[in-house]
């Protein structure tokens, strides 16, 4: 059971180039998220999806596009990379099943290992 897998793990781009980050989960989760993490800025939500074929903007969506054509995959695209998009990108997913109430367990986020992107 792989959980959440991100590819590639590392990538260097030149300004203006395009690329796609792939997130794949094998847990049949409905919800998927893309975050970026910058030093001192914590985790900021870029886009998210509540199901196959649906996407929504997060806190910092500009310069990114996403697609969720298959339930298990959530793609993050950069059409024209900029140095400001140098960051570590994390994908996460969680279920939409009702959590176990007072037992304290809920549909926790499962994260991928991250993709480090450098834009020169």
């Amino acid at each position: 059971n792989a959980g959440v897998t991100q590819t590639p793990k590392f990538r260097v781009l030149k300004t203006g180039q395009s690329m796609t980050l792939l997130c794949a989960q094998d847990m049949n989760h409905e919800y998927m998220y893309w975050y970026r993490q910058d030093p001192g800025m914590g985790l900021r939500l870029i886009h998210y999806s509540v199901g196959e074929g649906t996407t929504a903007k997060g806190e910092v969506p500009d310069g990114y596009n996403v697609s969720r054509l298959k339930k298990q995959n959530f793609l993050l695209g950069l059409e024209s990379a900029a140095p400001s998009q140098t960051s570590v990108y994390f994908c996460a997913s969680r279920s939409n099943r009702e959590g176990q109430g007072a037992l304290g367990r809920a549909n926790v986020l499962t994260f991928g290992a991250g993709s480090r992107l450098t834009v020169l």
């Binding site: 409905e30 939500l45 509540v50 929504a56 997060g58 806190e59 959590g99 304290g104 809920a106």
Partner: protein, 113 residues
């Protein structure tokens, strides 16, 4: 838009001491209050979480204290160890709801031997 404010940004504690990290939120619809732990080069992972029907939950050296009226919850790490050195995030949300899930700004904890 949901707002989650975490403090302090960084914390240095001596081995054996108590580490305390706080999280304040605005959305009263949240019903799940987790803390995530992140080691360098890794993705965050759930550390401990609480539901709003209890005021405190303890798991080993880690305790969450929840103050519903103040809309705050905190993480206490007792007998802090160098291996606890990591970045901690709070990320309260509505379980079983597909909406934005935002994190606090993170607290970088360093436990000195």
């Amino acid at each position: 838009q949901q707002q989650v404010k975490q403090s302090p940004q960084s914390l240095i504690v001596q081995k054996g001491g108590i580490s305390i990290i706080n999280c304040a939120y605005e959305n009263t619809a949240f019903d799940y209050f987790p803390w995530y732990q992140q080691f360098p080069g890794k993705g965050p992972a759930l550390l401990i979480a609480i539901r709003p029907d209890v005021s405190e939950k303890k798991e080993g050296r880690f305790t969450i204290s929840f103050n519903k009226s103040a809309k705050q919850f905190s993480l206490h790490i007792m007998d802090s160890q160098p291996g606890d050195s990591a970045t901690y995030f709070c990320a309260p949300y509505r379980d079983n709801a597909g909406n934005m899930l935002t994190f606090g700004g993170g607290t970088r904890l360093m436990v000195k031997p």
